[in-house]
C-alpha cells in the first residue's frame, strides 16, 4: 500500500481533472453565439472566408475613409502617427499577400 492510499484509509477514490484546469464544455453556448452575432451585426461586420484580394480591398476601403477623416479629429499627432503606422503595416501585409496570389505574366512579377 502506498503512503497516499494508507492516509486515505481506502475511503477516497482518485479523480481526474482537465489538464488545462478548465471544465470541458461544448464549443460556445448558444447564448454566446447569439451575443457575438449581435455584436457583429451591430457593427456591420461579417466574419467569412476571405481571399487575399478581398482582404486587401477591405483594408484599403476602411483605411481610406479613416485617413480622410483624420485631419478633422481631435487626435494628437502621436495618436495619428500610431494609427497611420498600423495602417502602413497592414496595407503592406495585404499588398504582399495579394501580389503573391497573382499569376506571373511572361516572367515578370505582376
Amino acid at each position: 500500500m502506498s503512503d497516499n492510499e494508507h492516509a486515505d484509509y481506502d475511503l477516497i477514490a482518485p479523480i481526474s481533472l482537465p489538464e488545462n484546469g478548465i471544465a470541458p464544455t461544448a464549443p460556445g453556448s448558444q447564448e454566446q453565439t447569439d451575443d457575438v452575432a449581435e455584436y457583429d451585426a451591430y457593427f456591420r461586420i461579417e466574419h467569412t472566408e476571405m481571399a487575399p484580394r478581398a482582404w486587401a480591398a477591405t483594408v484599403k476601403s476602411v483605411f481610406k475613409d479613416v485617413s480622410q477623416d483624420l485631419p478633422e479629429t481631435s487626435l494628437d499627432n502621436e495618436e495619428k502617427a500610431r494609427l497611420l503606422d498600423g495602417m502602413a503595416i497592414v496595407l503592406m501585409d495585404s499588398l504582399v499577400s495579394d501580389t503573391a496570389c497573382e499569376p506571373r505574366k511572361g516572367g515578370r512579377v505582376a
Binding site: D34, D35, V36, E38, Y39, D40, Y42, F43, R44, I45, H47, T58, V59, V62, F63, D65, V66, D69, L70, T73, S74, L75, E79, K80, R82, L83, D85, G86, M87, I89, V90, D93
Partner: protein, 177 residues
C-alpha cells in the same frame, strides 16, 4: 432610416463609432495572424530569430488599435448619451450588449495570455534572449497603454463606469431578489 434624419454632428458620431471599430477589428485580425506565427516560432521551432521583430510589430499594431479606439470615440459625450448608447440597447439590441462580445478581441487576448505564459517559462529556463525579453516588454507596455486608454474612454462616455452590461446584471439581480 436615412442619414438625412441625423444632424451633421450625429452623422460624424455614427461614422466614427462604427468606422473606428472597423479599423480596430482590422488591427486585431492582423495581430491574431502575427500571434499565430509567433506561437509557431516559439513552440515548434528552435530558431527564435524571427521572434523579436514579430513582437515589436505586435506592439506597434496594439498601439494602432488603441489609437483606433480613440478615433472611434472622438465625438461629444452628448452624442453618445443621446444616440450611440440607445442604439446599443433594447429594443434595437438585447440588454447587456458589450464590447466583450467582440470575438476577434477575445481571440487576441487569449493568444496574448498564452504568449505571456510561454515567454515566462522560457525566461525561467534561461532560454529567452535579451532581445526577445526587451521586445516582449514593449508589447506588454503597449497592452498597458491600451487598457489605460480604454478606461479613459469609458470614463468620458460613462462617468462612474455603469456599462450596459453592468446595468443589465444589476437589473437582473434586482428582479430575481
Amino acid at each position: 432610416m436615412s442619414s438625412e434624419s441625423l444632424t451633421k454632428a450625429q452623422q460624424v458620431a455614427v461614422q466614427r463609432w462604427k468606422l473606428g471599430h472597423h479599423a480596430f477589428h482590422i488591427y486585431l485580425v492582423s495581430m491574431n495572424d502575427r500571434l499565430a506565427r509567433l506561437r509557431s516560432v516559439l513552440q515548434d521551432s528552435e530558431d527564435w530569430s524571427a521572434a523579436p521583430e514579430l513582437l515589436r510589430v505586435l506592439a506597434r499594431l496594439y498601439d494602432a488599435s488603441t489609437a483606433s479606439m480613440r478615433y472611434a470615440a472622438d465625438f461629444p459625450s452628448a452624442q453618445y448619451d443621446g444616440l450611440i448608447r440607445p442604439s446599443m440597447s433594447p429594443p434595437w439590441l438585447s440588454a447587456g450588449f458589450s464590447g466583450r462580445f467582440n470575438s476577434d478581441h477575445d481571440k487576441m487576448l487569449t493568444a496574448l495570455k498564452q504568449l505571456r505564459s510561454t515567454l515566462k517559462s522560457s525566461v525561467r529556463r534561461g532560454e529567452a534572449t535579451p532581445e526577445v525579453t526587451a521586445a516582449a516588454a514593449e508589447l506588454w507596455r503597449a497592452q498597458s497603454r491600451n487598457r489605460a486608454a480604454h478606461k479613459l474612454i469609458c470614463e468620458k462616455f460613462v462617468p462612474g463606469g455603469r456599462s450596459l452590461l453592468k446595468e443589465y446584471f444589476e437589473n437582473t439581480a434586482e428582479t430575481t431578489q
